[in-house]
């Protein structure tokens, strides 16, 4: 199921390579002729490897990279790219002969797609890995730019009815699937939900998103593919959307090998429509699409540096071991010392590449900021010189190779870590293959009540019993609280077999300094045998629970996904069934055939007939015949 899109990609690649090889073979001679000329050109390019645009060509595009050290020698790198489209007036057709579309920095692939599918907002997430919020604090962008493990897509689509909107959404998903080489096309009616409390559906309407047709409505739809593998083929399309195409500016750092080698990584695309709603302005009602692309990754710096040195983490040499000197150590034993707090690295070591110049397309230069405490040093490396700034932000102004050098003598001290307002975990419980349970634990470490919305979408084959919903609270102070005190409101859409998933939304209030566990039971349905994926024994991925904090601070987080086991048939069984049923049918047929074709006689008659069939009797008959021929028979 998941392999399909990936495989098609490989096939395309292979055919492209073949064509390239053929082309190269014919072009080889020409190339050889041109080599001499090119030598001269290359000499020039050595000095000036970057393309220089003429002055004045600048577009609404902005790119920044934020580097933030995290505790325990981890480092968060957040790339942000912002761009917006040319203004347009919604509802006015642009298909006239005298009009033309010019996309400038806004990706050519996205805008027609949004127009065709009447999409006002589009949010796409590719996330994988484990964000250790207990140690690292809040997610980057307060979690609003990251998704659950796998692919997540939600969009606001304009439509005349729910069905119309769904069809447009389906079309959107199919196109995105091709664009990003992900299985987004497998999103169907049974995966799509219409969130009620989460993803800010109210605010979306208030924001006054424009309608092409005033009779239409806006629909917010959400779907996710849990644990869809995220790989280079998802990153490359994202880079292609950028005006720099990953060739210059900070996006030149983005290399699949390193990004997907990180502890946690996330790619996000958000497109919104913003309009001017002020009659005072001349351009009242004018709209533009604004797009933000984010790539965030957290890496463990020492292991990346060690990997650069030696790709296989072989045992260290005896003299390279860092031993705890307070404990016994000698040539034979070594109690490992706590992790080192001294560190020095360059971004090129972490990303495997240098930054190739700035971007020349925008009003602002590419900007790199290091959010570091005083124990850290961050400098920009240009040729062999290191240059620092007061605010640790660096503008890339020239078309040269840049690198960032960072070092610290005490990595434990980091800039004000923002504690996550709540910790949430979820797990499957129970024993056996016919039923199970889900348990979500909310741990509120703060001193104030946290109001949050709980959004859970479960596949139809998990038949949940809301009546079994139970709450367990650890804090003695709040022991008397009941389920009704915790749940402020709930929204529940029951599943329909094979057609719709369960949608469960709560608004919860978690009391301060307490841990609340919500649990409920479910039955596991039995699937048709064609409904099992090829890797039937892997289990079924359950998408993560989305928790959006409403009070006191806006924050969003997702739990890890779950793996649900359904009873899985032995797929060689049909063969056995065919054999057994054929045998039974054969026996029935034989008996029936006998009954129909054979004559019923009494036992005496049968014995008489049988007696005539024995060899002895036949021999006797032959003897008699011979004797009678000879006339000897009496």
């Amino acid at each position: 199921m998941f392999g399909l899109s990936k495989r098609c990609n490989v096939v395309q690649l292979a055919s492209a390579l073949l064509m390239l090889v053929a082309h190269l073979a014919t072009a080889q001679e020409e190339v050889e002729n041109k080599i001499q000329e090119e030598d001269q050109v290359e000499a020039v390019q050595d000095r000036q490897p970057f393309r220089v645009l003429s002055d004045g060509m600048q577009y609404p595009y902005k790119e920044t990279l934020d580097v933030t050290p995290l505790p325990h020698n981890h480092l968060l790198s957040s790339f942000e790219f912002e761009m917006s489209s040319k203004p347009f007036f919604p509802g006015v057709s642009s298909s006239g002969y005298d009009q033309y579309d010019h996309y400038t920095v806004f990706p050519r692939a996205i805008e027609p797609l949004l127009r065709r599918t009447f999409t006002k907002q589009l949010h796409l997430r590719f996330t994988r890995g484990y964000w250790n919020s207990e140690e690292w604090g809040r997610l980057p962008h307060d979690g609003f730019k990251s998704g659950g493990s796998g692919v997540e897509l939600w969009a606001v689509v304009e439509g005349s009815s729910k069905e119309d909107a769904y069809n447009k959404w389906k079309s959107l998903a199919n196109t995105l699937s091709g664009m990003f080489c992900a299985s987004i096309n497998f999103i169907g009616a049974s995966d799509t939900n219409y969130p009620m409390y989460s993803f800010k559906p109210d605010e979306l309407r208030k924001e006054g998103l424009p309608l092409f047709d005033s009779e239409n409505e806006l629909f917010l739809m959400h779907a996710s593919l849990a644990n869809e593998p995220i790989c280079t083929e998802n990153l490359t399309p994202l880079l292609k959307l950028l005006p720099s195409k990953g060739k210059s500016g900070i996006s030149s750092l983005l290399d699949g090998h390193k990004i997907f080698d990180s502890v946690w990584h996330n790619m996000a695309i958000d497109v919104t429509t913003t309009c001017i709603n002020n009659p005072k302005f001349e351009n009242d009602g004018e709209c533009r699409f604004e797009m933000q692309a984010n790539v965030d990754m957290a890496v463990h710096v020492p292991s990346i540096l060690a990997r650069n040195k030696n790709p296989i983490p072989k045992p260290l040499d005896g003299n390279e071991l860092h031993c705890d000197l307070s404990k016994p150590y000698d040539a034979y034993q070594c109690f490992p010392a706590p992790a080192q707090t001294e560190i020095q690295f360059t971004l090129s070591e972490l990303f495997g590449r240098n930054i190739s110049g700035s971007n020349d397309l925008s009003f602002t230069h590419s900007r790199i900021c290091a959010h570091i405490s005083d124990n850290w040093l961050a400098t920009i490396k240009l040729d062999d010189g290191l240059f620092g700034t007061d605010d640790n932000c660096f503008e890339l102004t020239e078309n040269r190779f840049y690198d960032i050098y960072m070092e610290s003598g005490s990595t434990d001290v980091i800039l004000d870590k923002k504690e996550a307002p709540i910790y949430v975990s979820r797990s499957l419980t129970g024993y056996g293959q016919d039923h199970g349970g889900l348990r979500a634990v909310f741990n509120n470490p703060s001193d104030e009540t946290v109001r949050l919305s709980y959004y859970e979408s479960l596949p139809w084959f998990m038949r949940i019993y809301l009546s079994t919903l139970e709450m367990d609270i650890t804090s003695e102070e709040y022991a008397q609280l009941t389920l009704n005190d915790i749940i402020e409101s709930q929204y529940y859409v029951p599943a329909i077999d094979r057609k719709r998933s369960t949608q469960l939304e709560f608004v919860l209030a978690i009391p301060p300094r307490s841990t609340v566990a919500l649990s409920y039971q479910f039955d596991k349905a039995i699937l048709h045998f064609t409904e099992y994926p090829p890797d039937a024994n892997h289990g079924f991925e359950i998408e993560s629970l989305v928790v959006t904090i409403l009070d006191p601070v806006p924050y969003q987080l997702r739990t890890s996904t779950l793996l649900l086991y359904l009873s899985t048939p032995d797929f060689s069984m049909p063969y056995n069934v065919i054999i057994i049923s054929s045998t039974v049918m054969g026996l029935i047929f034989g008996t029936l055939y006998n009954l129909l074709t054979k004559k019923m006689v009494t036992l005496e008659e049968a014995e008489k007939v049988l007696a005539t069939r024995t060899i002895k009797y036949k021999l006797l008959m032959v003897k008699n015949r011979i004797l009678s021929k000879l006339g000897l028979l009496k």
Partner: protein, 585 residues
């Protein structure tokens, strides 16, 4: 078909049916013999198979194991600190706290599970970058192993291994390390809590490896692999094969089912028969015997094995032993699906030889057929002419069976709460003698009823064995064979049983087929661990600690059948009038 009809007609014509029916007891005895022979031929060449890896993804020992060289220094470093625990008598809380801080040093998220009934368990999760957080592989290290020795080497090795694992980027499943106080109730409690009420979890557990290296030496002789799960569950043969293959690949000898060191290399008929026999014994007594840690993971589709380092004289060093879990982890890490390719039911004859369920199951089926045969015999061969099934005696027998079932259940529960072995054996001794103590003939039981009681007694036993034999072959087979003497018990009123000789014979047969006496005798004969009457308290603790239901199978499966047979021996008014009727006919 024609041939069969002919034979059928011949049989009818010769009047063989009644003659054959008369031979039912002999037929049953022959079947029992056949069952033994079928088990005995399994270790013959050509009857068993070589093991192989079914799941291609596992690729055991295909990746080079790097847990060597300076990792040994790290293991020794940890070991010195763990030896301090023993020297200083560090309390469980302090020990767990300290080890948790060591684990946190290299990025393991730790938590301590406080059990209400048993000891605390420290566990840690290494969230791996390539993983999706939905699956986990567990390395379990009991602080005290099954023998009660402090697991110094195992703990040091586990810490060293996890530190080493944290440097590898290859893991696609979460790695978990569990330090339980013992390999039995505390570990089981932790596994149970993991699937009910734990806050820090790492996804569903695919496989669990228990490490047991009790000494503080650097060397070992050979490795014992334990695989028996509770209630007849076994780990998937693939995991066991991987464990054995990896161990042998690293140059260590593998001993299964506690085979002695000097017998490991043997591979002839008798050594295979012995390994198989010990395997059946260990499987029957899994959870009741000394546990090693893998038993605690039984259920929840977790495949578990225990690796135990034996001896400290050999030339195998501790990191070699550590490379075994490393390679197993690498193999399991390759899996995209749960273990499902290979056998879940098998008998092991030698580390590299096994038989699958189709080879040994018929023996157990035949044993249960033997009981059915004797049940038929008691129905058909009575002095009362042609058998009628639906009559008062059948109803009475069923009522008696129901009452006995309820009594047996209450009895089994009562023993769990008041485990008094003397009382248990005393009651049973009295029960055995009751038919010969009671001189008063019971007016309730007539001879026809005693026959019918035997019908239901044997039928019940047969049903119990049949329903048990796929789930727990070893227990079903052993139970069927041990209870077999009760097939030969004669009813008290039948002509044969009237003299003293046959009465004594009856007493002996009833005594050796009594579940409790039988278990007592056989456990003392076969297992050195089970000296005296310790088996009963172990049966009960296996239930309360591990939820191993062998005690209830014995009490509710075997005991009621035996009681019915016992009842059928009670003296009853002689059915002389029946004989007279017969004579007049």
């Amino acid at each position: 078909m024609g041939l069969l009809t002919n034979i059928h007609r011949k049989i009818i014509a010769m009047g063989l049916v009644p003659k054959l029916l008369k031979q039912l007891p002999n037929f049953g005895k022959v079947l029992l013999l056949v069952s033994f022979v079928m088990m005995a031929i399994i270790p013959l060449d050509g009857q068993y198979r070589r093991t192989y890896i079914s799941e291609n993804a596992l690729m055991p020992s295909q990746a080079y194991s790097y847990f060597r060289e300076s990792e040994w220094n790290v293991v020794r470093g940890y070991r010195t600190q763990i030896e301090e625990f023993v020297k200083n008598g560090t309390s469980m809380e302090d020990r767990n706290k300290l080890v948790a801080s060591w684990l946190q040093d290299f990025g393991v998220k730790t938590s301590v599970y406080h059990s209400e009934k048993h000891n605390d368990t420290l566990y840690g999760i290494l969230h791996t970058p390539r993983g999706d957080g939905t699956e986990a592989i567990v390395l379990s290290i009991p602080w005290y192993n099954g023998d009660g020795d402090f697991n110094v080497g195992g703990a040091a090795l586990g810490l060293g291994l996890f530190r080493y694992f944290s440097r590898w980027p290859v893991w696609s499943k979460n790695l978990m390390i569990v330090f339980s106080e013992d390999p039995r109730e505390s570990l089981r409690d932790w596994v149970n809590a993991y699937h009910t009420s734990m806050d820090l979890t790492g996804g569903s557990i695919e496989a669990a490896i228990t490490l047991d290296y009790a000494g503080n030496g650097d060397f070992l002789d050979y490795v014992e692999v334990y695989y028996d799960g509770l209630n007849g569950e076994l780990p998937n043969l693939d995991l066991l094969n991987v464990a054995i293959q990896v161990t042998q690949h690293e140059g260590m000898k593998v001993s299964l089912n506690g085979i002695e060191k000097d017998q490991i290399d043997e591979n002839d008929y008798f050594s295979r028969l012995r390994t198989m026999g010990l395997g059946i014994r260990d499987s029957t007594l899994a959870g009741i015997k000394k546990t090693h840690g893998n038993e605690a993971f039984s259920g929840w589709r977790i495949q578990a094995v225990t690796l135990k380092a034996c001896g400290n004289e050999g030339n195998i060093d501790i990191t070699t032993f550590g490379r075994v879990p490393e390679a197993i982890f690498r193999s399991v890490n390759n899996l995209l699906e749960k273990f499902h390719q290979s056998f879940f039911f098998y008998l092991i004859l030698a580390p590299k030889n096994f038989v699958s369920i189709s080879s040994y199951l018929p023996s157990a089926v035949i044993v249960s057929i033997v009981y059915a045969t004797f049940s038929l015999d008691a129905l058909v061969n009575t002095p009362f002419g042609s058998p009628i099934f639906y009559n008062t005696e059948s109803l009475l027998s069923l009522i008696i069976l129901s009452v006995i079932l309820i009594v047996s259940y209450l009895f089994s529960q009562a023993f769990v709460y008041f485990p008094n072995t003397e009382v248990l054996l005393g009651i049973n001794a009295i029960l055995i003698l009751i038919p010969y103590i009671l001189k008063q003939k019971s007016s309730l039981l007539n001879e026809a009823l005693t026959y019918r009681l035997r019908v239901f007694g044997y039928l019940y036993m047969s049903l119990v064995l049949t329903s048990l034999l796929v789930i727990n072959f070893a227990l079903a087979f052993v139970m069927g064979v041990l209870a077999a003497p009760m097939l030969l018990v004669q009813t008290q009123s039948s002509g044969v049983a009237r003299n003293t000789k046959s009465a004594i014979r009856n007493i002996i047969l009833l005594a050796i087929s009594n579940p409790y006496f039988s278990i007592l005798i056989i456990s003392n004969l076969t297992d050195t661990e089970m000296a005296g009457t310790v088996i009963f308290s172990k049966l009960v603790s296996a239930w309360s600690d591990l939820h191993c239901w062998t005690w209830f199978v014995v009490c509710i499966g075997w005991f009621p059948a035996w009681l019915l047979i016992l009842l059928s021996c009670l003296q009853c008014p002689s059915s002389s009038n029946v004989d007279e009727q017969k004579k007049t006919q």
